[in-house]
């Protein structure tokens, strides 16, 4: 096997190259399912906001279908939705995505898997990106999800976005703590 090319930090100067257009909007108005906003902050080991991070997300559509040929149902994927999104954090460490709530994906008929979004974090000071997942607080399937169940209950909450409803929209709040108290659970990238 060939050896992987090593990762290096995205650095502080990626914006003009990587943040273009509205890559943080994954769904048009016609997209199927529940339209949601995801908001969060990225914090460092002192609890200070990180104003120069980049967040990428990857998720299926509202019926749990990925726009990718490895998904046996990909021909039925929602054409008004793209599963990939990218956002920068701003001065107070905040980022924002507009998307749809993902459906459950097909894994194994004996197991219920809660809906989730894969989340990557890139920043100056990170020689390699971090990987985490966003789950939704109002999903009953969280209780039996195999990934969530395997995580220390004291830390499980770091993966669960809080639902905040207002008159005209639904927002999920999801903060990412890179280190220390309340450190987000990270997975092998």
């Amino acid at each position: 096997m060939l050896k992987q090319t090593p990762s290096q930090t995205v650095g502080p100067f990626f914006h003009n190259a990587l943040i273009r257009g509205d890559q943080n909007i994954l769904a048009t108005e016609q997209a199927r399912g529940e339209r949601i906003t995801i908001r969060g902050r990225v914090l460092d080991g002192d609890g200070a906001p990180i104003p120069d991070a980049m967040i990428e997300i990857w998720q299926p559509d509202a019926r749990g279908i990925f726009q990718h040929r490895t998904d046996p149902r990909h021909a039925e994927a929602d054409p008004h939705f793209r599963g990939f999104g990218r956002a920068e954090t701003v001065n107070n460490g905040e980022f924002c995505f507009v998307t749809v709530k993902p459906g459950q994906i097909a894994v194994d008929e004996n197991q219920a898997v809660a809906p989730f979004i894969n989340v990557r974090i890139f920043a100056r000071g990170m020689l390699i990106h971090s990987l985490t997942r966003l789950y939704f607080a109002d999903e009953a399937a969280n209780a039996t999800d195999p990934v969530l169940s395997a995580i220390d209950p004291a830390r499980r909450g770091t993966l669960i976005a809080r639902r905040v409803e207002s008159a005209d929209s639904t927002t999920y709040q999801f903060d990412i703590v890179l280190q220390g108290d309340g450190e987000t659970v990270f997975f092998t990238p």
Partner: protein
């Protein structure tokens, strides 16, 4: 669905915490990483195509021209994107960004007192072809100072961001130039644990790529994770 992909190989990848690079100290996780089962969410990934590219995205000497040519040494960078099984990765999106010949980025946070070049933006995008090949033309970037430690300078580099065939093949890295004396002082480059790995981030001068009376050529091959662990499925 039973396919298994490789994940990060920590024998070649840098750790999160590398104290010589001071910004890692407060931005590195302290708890152990948790392995993920591979589901469709990891076996799939974003797909890009030629629709995502603009005509001059592969020529940074032309894509931001205002009133003349950018200053500096014109170079051609080419190479192949491969998986760990030595198979080409076609249609990989590569996004690139870099400082200008004087070591200055167009960015509000870049305070280095070196001139901006009105004819150079330092950003581009290319897609690999069916053989995993890519190629772009640019200006050789300059070194620049940063505040990691006294008299800290980044060696000349070009940033690369790559999407391969699945979610696990994502890579962000930097390409360096052969013979750069700043490499041995750079904590970002030296965050890579093994010497062989560090060497793989240094492009090679290639006289076959060099175009007479036009531009010097450099070759830089890239190997992505997220490769099939069993190349021949039964």
């Amino acid at each position: 669905m039973s396919q298994t992909l490789t994940t990060i190989d920590w024998s070649v990848q840098p750790p999160y915490l590398h104290p010589a690079y001071t910004s890692t100290v407060k931005r590195s996780p302290q708890r152990p990483l948790i392995p993920l089962p591979q589901t469709l969410a990891e076996l799939s990934g974003p797909v890009f195509g030629y629709d995502d590219l603009a005509p001059l995205d592969d020529d940074l000497t032309k894509n931001a021209v205002a009133d003349g040519e950018p200053l500096g040494e014109r170079i051609i960078v080419t190479g192949r994107v491969l998986d760990e099984n030595n198979r080409p990765v076609p249609h990989a999106l590569i996004e690139i960004w870099q400082a200008n010949a004087c070591g200055r980025y167009i960015h509000k946070n870049d305070q280095h007192p070196a001139p901006l070049d009105p004819n150079f933006a330092g950003t581009g995008r290319v897609l690999t072809d069916a053989n995993g090949g890519y190629r772009f033309t640019t200006i050789k970037p300059g070194a620049y100072p940063w505040r990691n430690h006294p008299n800290a300078w980044r060696p000349a580099h070009i940033h690369f961001s790559l999407f391969g065939t699945n979610f696990l093949s994502r890579l962000v890295t930097q390409m360096y130039f052969p013979g750069d004396p700043l490499l041995s002082y750079d904590p970002i480059y030296n965050g890579i644990p093994d010497e062989e790995g560090r060497r793989r981030l240094i492009s090679q001068y290639d006289h076959e790529v060099t175009q007479p009376e036009w531009a010097l050529g450099y070759r830089f091959d890239i190997v992505l994770s997220g490769s099939a662990m069993t190349p021949f499925e039964t």
